[in-house]
C-alpha cells in the first residue's frame, strides 16, 4: 500500500539533504545584500556539512551496523556547531558596528577601502 513506499533512509539520502541545504546556503550567501542574510547563508552551509558528518558517523545508518567514522563524526559536528556560534557572535558584532558607522546593513555599501 501507499505507506510501504517509505522504506528509504540511507546515508545517501542524508547526504542529499545536506547537499540541498549546502546549495541553498551558497545561493543565500551570494545573493543576499543584507549582511544578516549572508550570515544566515553561512549557517545553512555549516548545517549541510554537519548533516554529512552525522550521517557518516551514525552507527544506526551504517549498512553493517558500524560506521567507519564512529564517534569522530559527532565530535566534528559538535565543534562545527560551537565554532558557528562563535562566528555568528563576532559577525553580528561586526554588522552592528558597520550599522553604527554607515546606517545600513547593505554589504554592497561596505566599499570604504575601494581605491
Amino acid at each position: 500500500m501507499i505507506f510501504a513506499l517509505l522504506g528509504v533512509a540511507s546515508v545517501s539520502h542524508y547526504l542529499v539533504v545536506g547537499a540541498i541545504l549546502f546549495s541553498c546556503g551558497v545561493v543565500c550567501m551570494a545573493v543576499k545584500r543584507n549582511a544578516l542574510g549572508v550570515l544566515m547563508g553561512i549557517e545553512l552551509v555549516l548545517n549541510g556539512a554537519n548533516l554529512n558528518f552525522v550521517a557518516f558517523g551514525s552507527n544506526y545508518l551504517a549498512a553493517d551496523g558500524r560506521s567507519p567514522l564512529g564517534l569522530d563524526g559527532e565530535v566534528v559536528a559538535l565543534f562545527v556547531i560551537l565554532l558557528a556560534a562563535a562566528e555568528a557572535a563576532v559577525a553580528l558584532a561586526i554588522t552592528l558596528n558597520f550599522y553604527n558607522n554607515h546606517a545600513t546593513v547593505d554589504v554592497d555599501r561596505a566599499d570604504d577601502l575601494h581605491g
Binding site: V31, L39, G41, E74, I81, L92
Partner: protein
C-alpha cells in the same frame, strides 16, 4: 500478527507496515529543504530567520533520527535557541523600516541559481556514487553516544576501549576541546569589544539618533548607576 478481534475497520489496515524511520526522515528532510529554499527566496529578513529556524530545527530532528541525540539537543540549544535569537536580535537592532528588504537584481539571482544547481548536481552525484552508502541501515540501536562523547572530550575514548580492550587511556579530543574553549572565550571578549557603544567618539548620521538612542541605553550596560537600587 493477530487477526482483528474488533472486526471491521482494523483488518483493512492490517497489511500496512510503516517504516517510521523513513517516514520521519522524509518529513524532516522535506521541512528542512523547503525551509532552506524559502530562506533563499524570501526578501524579508525576519521571515528568513523564521524559515531558518524551521530548517535548523528539522535538521536537529534528522540528528535525532540518526541516533545523535546529544548533537540534536545541542543543535536546538545553541543554533536555534542561541545563534538565531542573536540573529533576530541583530535584525531588530538594524531594521530601519518595519519590513526590511534589500532586493537583489534578477540577473544575479539567475547566475547564482545556475551555479548552485551545478553544485547540487555534483554533490548529489557524489552522494550516490558509493554503493555502501545507499544500503539502508540495519536499524541497530547502539548505546547512547552522549557519555562516550563527553568522555572523548576530556581525553578518554570509551568506545575504543570497549572495542579493542585497551587499558591505556588513548588521547581523545582534549586538546581540540581546550582550543575551542579558549577560542570561545576570545570570541566572547572580542564580540563585546566590537559591539560596545562608542557614542562619544563616532558622530552618527542625524537620522539615526531617534531610532537608535531610544533602544541602546537599555542594552549597553551603564550598570554603575543602578546596581543596588531595586535588587537589594
Amino acid at each position: 500478527m493477530n487477526q482483528a478481534s474488533f472486526g471491521i475497520p482494523v483488518s483493512l489496515f492490517a497489511s500496512v507496515t510503516i517504516d517510521w524511520h523513513g517516514f520521519f526522515f522524509l518529513l524532516f528532510a522535506a521541512i528542512a529543504c523547503i525551509s532552506a529554499l524559502m530562506v533563499v527566496l524570501s526578501d524579508n529578513v525576519v521571515r528568513m530567520a523564521l524559515h531558518l529556524v524551521l530548517s535548523l530545527g528539522a535538521t536537529a530532528g534528522l540528528f535525532f533520527l540518526a541516533g545523535a541525540e546529544f548533537l540534536g539537543a545541542m543543535q536546538l540549544m545553541i543554533y536555534v535557541g542561541g545563534t538565531l535569537v542573536l540573529l533576530v536580535f541583530g535584525v531588530m537592532l538594524t531594521a530601519q523600516t518595519q519590513l526590511v528588504s534589500l532586493r537583489t537584481p534578477a540577473g544575479d539571482r539567475v547566475i547564482a541559481s545556475i551555479l548552485a544547481a551545478a553544485l547540487l548536481a555534483v554533490l548529489v552525484q557524489a552522494a550516490f556514487s558509493i554503493e555502501s552508502w545507499q544500503k539502508p541501515g540495519q536499524g541497530m540501536v547502539s548505546a547512547p553516544t552522549a557519555t562516550p562523547l563527553g568522555m572523548a572530550l576530556v581525553g578518554v575514548r570509551v568506545d575504543q576501549h570497549a572495542e579493542e580492550g585497551l587499558l591505556e587511556p588513548k588521547g581523545g579530543y582534549l586538546l581540540p576541546f581546550e582550543i575551542v574553549s579558549v577560542h570561545l572565550l576570545v570570541v566572547l571578549i572580542g564580540a563585546a569589544y566590537l559591539a560596545r557603544a562608542k557614542r562619544r567618539r563616532v558622530p552618527r548620521p542625524v537620522d539615526l539618533v531617534a531610532s537608535v538612542d531610544s533602544v541602546e541605553p537599555t542594552f549597553s550596560g551603564n550598570s554603575d548607576t543602578t546596581v543596588s537600587g531595586g535588587s537589594e
